[in-house]
Symmetry: C2
Subunit: 398 residues, 2 copies
């Protein structure tokens, strides 16, 4: 009795597959500096936790499939703060940004259909594509080009009769690039011309540095029917475990499909919706000191990693990740080795291996993703441990 | 620009599609007695809400993809209380029983594959089948036969090379039947013979009346590799809004696939997992008074509805639903009419139209599902209003 093809072929999360090795390292008494996953150490803002503690329903009953009205209004107001006019009718609350991505894939594509995604990309798109049984057509970006979007012709070379959408993540996980208005306009014209959907993963909207401002694909004019944005409270409010996100579009037929998908799973979690409401009611200014903290961390990790011999890394413009080219041949092997064979003063470092962020086989073997989600002191320590680890690793595996 | 086929064809939830009419009735000042949806009015047990109020993480960070270890252990212990030996390794915590059903479909079937489900069935299986792009092959049960499972030959007549699983829900939503050990053994032998999976939705396990004991498909011997059970805290602990469920199997390859599906969406909601832990730690005896309450309600609703002229209803053995045949020709029309045109002393009743519980077109037109999730007084009132409504409706639409 065989399991399904999708069950067999879905990738194990490259950011989670070495978790057992990390657990074993911790069990051996090592301190593991986790910069593999985007799980921030910034305390969850007080109003969010207060809302949890003050949860006052007597019966934890089903909520509306599209999420609580107040929360949808608060999310609309949040976009309004960025001069993006939306109403609650444009918004479906989802169980994490994850579910919003899955709904977007299912709303625009059927099994065998294709979506074009610049790679490296957020690795879990692969998982949702497997579940939805759609095909990700990668468009490989290069570190040497600053991971910028290629000319329109390169997108067009990948369009087939089955192409349904282009997916853009900006600020980008894992590269840290923030697409320029010119890049967005170019892709906007492309999807318009070829009658495609444009799905934007914009969960790192506020995470931009040196005064750079993120432009949303919701701001592109004339693309009201093409654009779907997936959003999440996870990073913005240090609330990854809340599993509250949003599916945003002005296309009524897409909304209707997503609402039916939402009805199948009844509703998003109630308590965390109340917490998210408190989060959005803080307004967007609460984020300023957090952005400054991440900018300092970015500088520490970027400068530290750049100074390690043999590395290549671009200074990220946004999000809290960087893709680092290392003087290694097999990132999976290196990551496992760091967790099982290496330690410095009772510490080691966990990073995410590069190949998981590509769907083209063989790409990213000498790359890793690092997340600057620890405080500056720990990041400096991570760089020191990584430098020593790499030096030893290169002698053993030249 | 067109949306996907699955986006176009997925059914609107028949238990939720009349929600706007109900909202409008409430807005007009009517009291609507909701017996359309299984959203219990039993207060959520105190330890669950206490756990929410005492949630003590400073950072609402990602949890493990398979759920918190303590919760998986508690769920294993819960099954142990019913003499079903499991370990935490057999259990993946899901975002509601909904996600467990979806994972089960995706783990055993690919687009175009088939699962056999006796109908009427829990309507949201349709939604998950659309999302997973698999085909539900219905096996129509009849009220006149007590909604019992038909002879094996009727199952076998529906098996094709694409059949991957049989899905059984017991105690059953919407019929209220509890399958006998003989029925389960018969289906067990069938799936064994034809090398199929057997998916059991057992979220109403404790909801059995008159001393009847539910047998789980996990208790069938020799079927360790075939059986997947989906479970949920929603009904058992009056915690529908928590969105915590479980995916249970002893098949290691199925578990591995489900874990990868789980990794794609990162983790189930954290706060509700802590609440669910408190729930499971109450032990199974807490349920006894709740069962007695539901048994009283069942008796009230059953006796009341039976006494309305022209109805046919079986006394349910379990869960908290009953399928009622009414002297009408179009259940959708009747449900809408009750919400828009009828009232008695400022009240009306909302029930769920029958066709949504069938995938065979044309079935269930004269049936509705009722849920005895209100207290006895309100149920008596619902019967009174329904009786008057039906009388008037039959005169208008004979």
């Amino acid at each position: 009795m065989d399991i399904s093809r999708r069950g067999k072929t879905i990738q194990a999360s490259p950011i989670r597959k070495f978790k057992p090795l990390a657990d074993a390292a911790v069990a051996r008494g090592l301190r593991v500096l986790f910069i593999n996953i985007g799980d921030p150490d910034i305390p969850t803002p007080r109003p969010i936790l207060d809302a949890v503690h003050e949860f006052d329903q007597e019966i934890l009953s089903y909520g509306p499939a599209q999420g609580f009205l107040e929360l949808r209004q608060a999310v609309a107001a949040y976009f309004g703060s960025y001069k993006i006019p939306l109403t609650e009718d444009n918004i479906i609350i989802t169980t994490g940004g994850s579910e919003a991505v899955f709904f977007a894939f299912c709303a625009v594509a059927d099994p065998g259909d294709e979506v074009i995604i610049p790679e490296p990309f957020y690795t879990n798109y692969n998982g949702f594509a497997s579940l939805a049984d759609i095909k990700i057509v990668p468009l490989t970006l290069k570190a040497d080009d600053g991971f910028r979007l290629p000319p329109t012709a390169e997108f067009e070379a990948r369009i087939t009769p089955r192409t349904r959408a282009v997916v853009l993540c900006s600020p980008n996980n894992p590269t840290g690039t923030v697409y320029t208005p010119e890049e967005l306009d170019r892709v906007g014209a492309l999807v318009k011309k070829h009658n495609l959907f444009l799905i934007g993963d914009e969960v790192y909207k506020e995470f931009t540095y040196e005064g750079l401002v993120h432009k949303s694909i919701l701001e592109l004019s004339g693309l009201e029917d093409n654009v779907i944005v997936t959003d999440s409270v996870s990073k913005r409010f240090s609330s990854c475990g809340a599993r509250i996100g949003a599916f945003v579009t002005r296309n009524e037929r897409v909304l209707e499909a997503a609402l039916r998908f939402a009805q199948a799973r009844l509703c998003p979690p109630s308590i965390e919706q109340k917490a998210a409401l408190a989060a959005y009611r803080m307004g967007i200014d609460f984020f300023k000191p957090i952005r400054e903290e991440y900018e300092r961390r970015r500088n520490v990790l970027f400068e530290g990693v750049s100074s390690i011999p043999g590395t290549l890394v671009l200074k990220p413009q946004g999000a809290f990740y960087m893709v680092v080219r290392l003087p290694i041949k097999d990132a999976d092997h290196f990551v496992a080795w760091m967790l099982t064979e290496f330690e410095l003063d009772g510490q080691t470092v966990m990073v995410a291996p590069g190949p998981g962020f590509y769907s083209t086989p063989g790409r990213g073997l000498d790359e890793v993703r690092m997340a600057y989600v620890l405080n500056e002191k720990d990041l400096r320590e991570a760089v020191r441990v990584l430098r020593a680890g790499l030096e030893k690793y290169r002698k053993l595996f030249p």
